[in-house]
């Protein structure tokens, strides 16, 4: 269903629920994988996905720009993912560095994480990057989003994003090759 139609049908009580269901079905996987790449753990990604759609449901009636629905949902998912990591930090009463260290360790031990050695190494390399740089890399490299879209999601200029992405690629290259 087109985003404009989803928004239109969401306004009417008769079609509100079916419109929201269409929205969930359309974006659930993208939201989940976007969250998963940030929080790494499946249960955390599940929580983030649900929180994201709850917030989308509450705010959708006031949302007007159908062409920006996707980037708006992505922005919510991004914020929820980062919040999830902060909650983890507070719950464990540790530093964010320690949270990332724990995530890095989980890449080798989590039963819902498995792949080629270089794929696992890439995920560990990403956890070394500054948070925003990691976000930009994920969206550009894995999700293949345009810089304009990433700019809408993160609020960073296109020029800044390009610079950040190029730097991230170089750092990762160094990590992967051990150079």
């Amino acid at each position: 269903m087109e985003d404009s139609l989803i928004l239109e049908q969401f306004k009417s009580d008769d079609t509100k629920h079916s419109a929201f269901r269409a929205l969930v079905d359309k974006y659930k996987e993208r939201v989940y994988w976007h969250a998963r790449k940030i929080v790494i753990d499946h249960e955390d990604a599940d929580d983030v996905t649900q929180e994201t759609f709850i917030k989308v449901y509450r705010a959708l009636k006031d949302f007007r720009e159908a062409s920006q629905l996707f980037t708006w949902i992505y922005r919510i998912a991004t914020n929820e993912s980062l919040n999830q990591l902060k909650k983890k930090q507070k719950r464990q009463a540790t530093s964010m560095d320690e949270v990332y260290e724990e995530l890095e360790n989980s890449i080798d031990s989590d039963h819902l994480i498995s792949g080629e050695e270089i794929q696992l190494k890439l995920q560990k390399a990403l956890l070394q990057l500054p948070e925003k740089q990691r976000l930009v890399f994920n969206m550009k490299y894995f999700d293949d989003l345009k810089y304009d879209e990433i700019s809408e999601i993160t609020g960073t200029s296109v020029g800044g994003l390009k610079a950040s992405y190029h730097l991230a690629v170089k750092k990762i290259e160094t990590y992967l090759t051990g150079a």
């Binding site: 449901y57 819902l112 794929q119």
Partner: protein, 168 residues
């Protein structure tokens, strides 16, 4: 320089800036293409998996968590309310009213039929007033339903006084 000439010069400068930038863009892209991340396509695959059937059930779980429970009003309209009240009164009467008291019946038998007819035709009974006034009738029925609702407290939400269905 003519106006047209100045216009052409500005355009040429703008074009030059664009093409200089374009060159930088292309060189940056080429640099990316040479990196391991773009040479090894297997790196694009994420090493993350989900439990079996996760996405199939995610939609249903989302709807039950995100969407407000659909409220089914207990009374679709006033007539339905009246009908429900009559049925309930009947049920209550059948199960709670005591058998006619013989002594009371005997007392009534002592009153003449003419006296009864005169009373019914001239006096305004409280019951007549009750049924003539719809607003009062509404209040009485609401009170009655509230009493009955208390008996079935596990089925009805008190805060809103309405019956909630699961899902949407």
């Amino acid at each position: 320089m003519t106006k047209k000439g100045k216009h052409i010069k500005i355009n040429q400068e703008a074009d030059k800036a664009y093409f200089d930038k374009l060159t930088d863009e292309i060189m940056n892209r080429v640099e990316l293409e040479d990196s391991l991340l773009y040479r090894d396509s297997s790196l694009k695959a994420l090493p993350f998996t989900t439990p079996d059937g996760y996405f199939d059930q995610l939609g249903d779980k989302m709807m039950s968590n995100s969407v407000e429970p659909k409220v089914i009003p207990l009374y679709a309209n006033t007539w339905l309310k009246y009908a429900a009240a009559v049925i309930l009164l009947f049920v209550v009467a059948v199960f709670t009213l005591k058998p006619a008291d013989t002594e009371t019946n005997n007392l009534l038998a002592d009153i003449s039929e003419d006296a009864i007819i005169e009373y019914a035709s001239t006096e305004e009974s409280a019951l007549d007033e009750l049924f003539l006034d719809e607003e009062v009738m509404e209040i009485v029925l609401d009170d009655l339903m509230a009493d009955i609702a208390f008996t079935y407290e596990d089925m009805i939400d008190f805060e809103q006084g309405e019956f909630f269905s699961e899902g949407y």
